[in-house]
Structures are given as structure tokens and as C-alpha cells.
Subunit: 312 residues, 2 copies
Amino acid sequence: MKSLNRQQIMTILAELDLIPAIESGFIQYSLGEVVVPPVAELLLDKGEVHIKYGYVKADDYYVIKVASGFYQNPQLGLSSSNGLMLLFNQHTGELVCSLLDEGYLTDVRTAVAGAVCAKYLAPKKITAIGIIGTGIQARLQAMHLKQVTNCRKIIVWGRKEGRVLEYQTYMQAYGFLVEIASNVSEVAAKANLIITTTPSTSPILNADDIRSGTHITAVGADTHEKQELDSDILSKADVVVADSLVQCQQRGEIFQALKRELITNIDIVELGNVISKANGRENDEQITIADLTGVAIQDIKIAEAVFLASKS
Amino acid sequence: MKSLNRQQIMTILAELDLIPAIESGFIQYSLGEVVVPPVAELLLDKGEVHIKYGYVKADDYYVIKVASGFYQNPQLGLSSSNGLMLLFNQHTGELVCSLLDEGYLTDVRTAVAGAVCAKYLAPKKITAIGIIGTGIQARLQAMHLKQVTNCRKIIVWGRKEGRVLEYQTYMQAYGFLVEIASNVSEVAAKANLIITTTPSTSPILNADDIRSGTHITAVGADTHEKQELDSDILSKADVVVADSLVQCQQRGEIFQALKRELITNIDIVELGNVISKANGRENDEQITIADLTGVAIQDIKIAEAVFLASKS
């Protein structure tokens, strides 16, 4: 049995192109080739724990992920999120690899899904990358976009000036030119690829601000309550993509727009189908939206990919 | 984070008295102080995986156990059962210890529960320990009884003569005098503490054979289908004990007797209540039955105990 710690995993990830693995995972998911039972949950006084698990039928492994959120941890100097992934042999049940990533692989697989969305949905010429928020996803999403676009211009907006300045410094060290927007409308005016990464529970991006030819990937909303996009954006959009149809019907931006009856189920296409048919965007005038709520197939695929890379 | 492998765990267990920990766990369980959500399950082509998890509210840890059964494994020279336990900090979500026991801790916690049942339910003077079956529980149950009785006489019955002879040799090396019974009735005639440990799906022990003053711990039946005891034994018994009332209503010997309306819920007492009131057996004439289906609190307690012992 192999065990990889966070540092070892980060070293492996630096050399690894995860886009093919995550793409094939979404395709298999949309084809019904993935078994993902309901999430198991443990609620504690100071936090919550989710256990996600599943496998691709034709693969050699199954994966169990433990992810926790303990919201008083920062007061103790600890990250609020934590976790690990366990990779088992699908034919014998043997534990093959412990990935003690402390939650980092979840952050990365989310960012890789964002890059996949941009690959199939963003307009050909990206004028600037708009980033809403300044946290870990605001950073990782932009970094993973490097694989699918040559654009290195970011226009960022965040609530706290200090955090925005930190973001600017951090991303410039990674080769981006980072402009700070004074409001969200300015991001929508200058960027035609926008990533929203906040835990907001009320819309931040307004429908009126969204220009034709814009793609938006909404990463932040993954519960019933969270929402970053004015739901009118989804009815205005030409293409609305869900990472998981069944999950987006119950949480996130698509859930909000369905609830308000601004879109219907036939307006939604699943990401795996977009990838397999490469039919996301038809022209540079369309408005496209991808709603990422996070699917266990991403965990399965990244755990497999890191383990296989650790052997070579 | 500490990681203990099977060999290290076995070394720690050799020095550890688990009865107090398991007893306090059953008491806390019966008092409603334990949180144990429904078991998560993953079904694969060649096996099945169960994820059991929970915590004692006042404790410092929560435990996630992964247990698998892959029934073609023996053809590959591997054990069919496998597993591990993960111990996390209940206040921060941090992984504290990985117990890579390959399923051994589950075997041990089951045997310790058997010893606890004998401690409170067996008659004062044990004439012989009756063992039905020859597998791992047939061995571990007898070994753990050493802590609660001075009786070292075993009378064993099993279906396969070769396995019975192996059992005899094995247990004699551990200081037992082992007699082989030619049939199950002979076990019931000679032993007044009987442990049934088989995966049988039809009754092995007959009600007519059970003498007054006998205690039976039924370990084998943990599903809807499995059954080792003629259900008339439960209606004949003076005391019927369930490790978990809610679980025994759905599987095991008590489930079978309830289904046939040979007993009712008021005839059943939960093990934690027996321990806390020390009121299992009133005299040496009573027939007592304990039905062990396996409860996650046992996993929580053994994982905690092994981890704490590893620090000292």
C-alpha cells in the first residue's frame, strides 16, 4: 500500500495534465458508466464530514473520499477544510493508495473542471479572464486556464480590498497581468470568460451586464442557498451546462433558475455530453453558462491519475 | 498523523484489555450518546464495501471504518474480508490515526462483545464452552472468554472434520482442552456457555436440546437470511439480549423470532442496559440468549483504544 502526503501529491500534480482524465470522467458519468451512491454525512458540534465514494465500472479502482469542514479551525491556525482520498482495488478490495491531500485534490479537480468548461465553451478569442472572488478557487481556476487559453490578463473583483491586492500580487507572480475592477459590472464589461468563485447567497453578477459572446463558469454555488448569478442570466444564455444534471436540479445556479421557472430541464445539457460531442459553443456571439456543483467522478479520476503518476 | 499496520495493531492488542472500552461503548449506545448514521454501501462486480462511521458525543474522536468482502479472493490467495479504520479529531476534523488492520479489529471487537455477554449472562460455574463452527470467530471468541471465565474446556462442533481437527490443534496450543462433538446436541448436553459462529441460513441448535442454566451467544447471523438458532430457543429463554435493539429488529436471531411472533419487543433488553444495571442473569437455572449483529460503537471504541495505547 502506497501513502502520499500533501507535499508529494503537489509535486506529482505539477507535472500532470489532468484535463484528459477529468474529461473522460465526465463523459463516462454522462453515459451512466459511473456508480456514485448518495453522499454519507456526519454532523458534529464543530463541523461536518462528507464521505463521497464510487467507481467507473470499467476501471480497476474505487475511491472513497472523506472531506470535512470545521469552521472554527482558522481560530486555531488550521484550515477549515480537510480531507483525504483512499483508492482501492475494484477486484479484491485491497487498499492501494492513501492520498493524504488535506482537501487539496478537491480544490484542484474543481479547477480542472473549470478549465474543461472553458475549453469547450469559451469564445475563441478571450479578451480578459474575469475573476469574481479572491480565494483558493479564484487562484486555481486562473492557473488551470493556462492550459486552454493564451490569455494572461485577469480582471478581478472582490469584496475586501486587502484580499484583492493580495490576489493581484500572488497571480502576477504566476505570470498574469492583474487589473482590479472597482465593481462587478466592470468585470463583465472587460472580460468575456468569467469565473465566479464566491460562497455568496445572493446574486453578484447582473443579467444586464452580460455581453453577447461571454462564457461564465459558476463555481461557488454548491448548496440550496448559495447563488452568484442573477437567474435571468441563465434564461438569457444560449447554452446552459450542468456538471451533473441530477445534482444541478437540486443545488446551485441551475436549481435557482429552475425554481423561478426561468429555464426548464430541456434547456440544460450535461458537461459530459458537451465534451463527447464537442458541441458547446456554436459561434462567438452566444452566451454560455457552466454550473459546477462538484461530482464524485472528479474525485475518482484525480485520485486514479495521481496514483498512476506516482508509479511512473 | 499516525499510521498503524496490522502487525503493529496485533502487538498493541496483545497487551490491551478491551472489555472496559467495549462495555462503556454499549452503555453509551443504549443511553443515546452515540451518533451512528446509516451504513454507506458500495456494490461491485466481485464484492461489496460497507462504510460505517460515527462518534460518541462526549469523546474526542470520530471513526470511519471501511470493510469489504470480496468472495473470490481466496482463489487468489487473499482473505475475502479486508478493511481499515480512520480516527479523526472531533473538534478539528484532522486525521489522527490510520488503522490498517485489514479487518482484524472487526474480528476482535466482535469477540470482545462475546466476552462481555458471557461476563453478565453466563452461569457462575461453566462446565464447558460449547463452540459451533471452526472459523476465526470460533477461535477469537474462545480466546477472549479467558478474561471472564477460568473454564478451559471446549466442546466443538463443525461440519467439516478436517477443519474441526485443525481447530482442536490450534486451540490446544492456546491452553484449551478441546473435545470434538459428534453432533450439535452433544454440545448442548455438555456445555452451558455456547457460542455459535457460523454463516448458516437454517437453524443448527434445537430448542429441545437446550438445558436450563445455559447461556448462548449467537454471533454468526447478521443479515436477514442468516440464522443459527431454532427460534423456539428465544421464546424458551428467560432473557433475550440484543446488542442493538433497532438492528436486531431487522436482522439476526431476534429478527427471525419476531417475524415468527415467538417473542415480542418487550421480551428484548439491550446489552448496554444489561451492563449498566448488571442485571443479565438472576439465577443459575435461567436460559439466556445474546444476539450480536455488530454495532459501529464497537468499531469506534476499539479504534480509540488501540490509538490511545499506541501513544503510551
